[in-house]
Subunit: 250 residues, 2 copies
């Protein structure tokens, strides 16, 4: 399983992915799920992937192959905007599907993959897309400023409560890490190290890219203090005494 | 969709269910998902259900039919312990499956149902079971003191952080309501009113049974203050400045 989240704020974008890959509980490995494509000052794109590792690796290889081809065919280096970038990724994913899906199906394996693509190409604002296995995709809007892929539910409530368009990038990164921590506590198949990538609007380059392992002091602080803070917040709320009048003697 | 949670504490048990039932977004109704079977001083059982409403209603009707039958066949009134109670519920569910599953399958409808059964029968401690669609079941243990059915993930982190065997019943009820609130915020198909049922160990009767609607003052307080408390806890945690050294100029 996987957990990745991408956030689109006024100030820029935040991407966080875990790196646990498993094929059964005794076959667990670490693979990066974040790929960065950057030409400083011109375009910067971040692609995160969840699902079948063979599929996502094929996809990324084919995207890179197109980027290295001399013939001017579409690639992430020459798409004019990020919408066309998402389309190109979707088309490439469909090519992987044409090559592999039938063979996978014969072995009872679904063609399961989902992607988050975000970034900025000179001339337009930062944009964020969620791309499905069928190659279709949706774009983040002012009402929905983030996408999650993989094991998304455990870590969703904190994002829904905290994230706004004017959230600062540091705070959004903190929110993403808390969301990751909540996911990890409830799902063993999501795990560190994490890749945190931050872009600032109109810089057209990566502002920060951090590889965070389980001993990282900030993440350790989040792990311990967020749980404590939740318990304190919980204890500070009154108990439902009126609702439970029958328990008054407790 | 549905969200139900049952908790087994030293002091007793807490059950909470929502009441939203939907078959498509324009066919939403309210049905109670909590059934109580009680003979004061001898046995008390609470059954909560998620899944296909026609199946769970058939199941409860058949359980009640057996309880009213004069022939002494197994029923929730005469099972000697709660393990046998869970078995009886599972067997009855298998009977519903034999009657209906093939016809449902013809219409592309899964036989989807899951149940939580908890309570106490005189002579043994309170026990809590999670029963699957196949009629098999598992029991809560000191390591796992609660079961959820339905849309369980959004509301799981707060329970994992707070619930312990010595949690007081009032606090456990508060935890269940916060867990419900987190679920509702993320999934439209879970909704009020809620049924909250509390048993105290060795009383062999319902201590409290509350029907909580959306205007209930305590639930309204939870809705507003829990979100605020989370945001405060979030703001109190330091930002990841060291991780994001590149953003120091922000």
């Amino acid at each position: 399983m996987t957990y990745c989240v991408g956030m689109l704020l006024d100030a820029g974008m935040v991407f966080l992915s875990d790196s646990r890959t498993n094929a059964g509980v005794d076959h667990i490995s670490t693979f990066r799920k974040t790929n960065i494509f950057e030409r400083q000052g011109e375009r910067v794109m971040v692609l995160m992937s969840a699902g079948n590792l063979a599929i996502t690796q094929s996809l990324v290889s084919m995207l890179r192959e197109a980027m290295g081809a001399p013939d001017g065919r579409p690639s992430l280096w020459n798409v004019p905007n990020l919408f066309e970038g998402a389309r190109h990724v979707g088309e490439t994913l469909r090519e992987v599907h044409r090559r592999d899906a039938a063979a996978l199906h014969d072995f009872g394996i679904d063609f399961s993959v989902s992607l988050i693509l975000g970034g900025q190409i000179d001339g337009e604002p930062p944009r964020l897309f969620s791309i499905y296995a069928a190659g279709n995709f949706i774009e983040a809007t002012p009402e929905t400023r983030y996408f999650q892929i993989g094991e998304s539910k455990y870590g969703k409530p904190i994002i829904d409560r905290v994230l706004r368009s004017d959230t600062r990038l540091e705070e959004a990164a903190k929110c993403a890490l808390i969301s990751m921590d909540s996911t990890i506590r409830s799902n063993l198949s999501v795990g560190p190290p994490f890749d945190l990538t931050v872009l600032r609007t109109d810089e057209l380059t990566i502002a920060t890219s951090a590889h965070i392992d389980v001993r990282d002091p900030y993440y350790t602080m989040i792990r311990t203090r967020w749980g404590e803070a939740l318990r304190t917040a919980f204890n500070d709320l009154p108990n439902p005494s009126d609702l439970l009048a029958g328990l008054a003697t407790e």
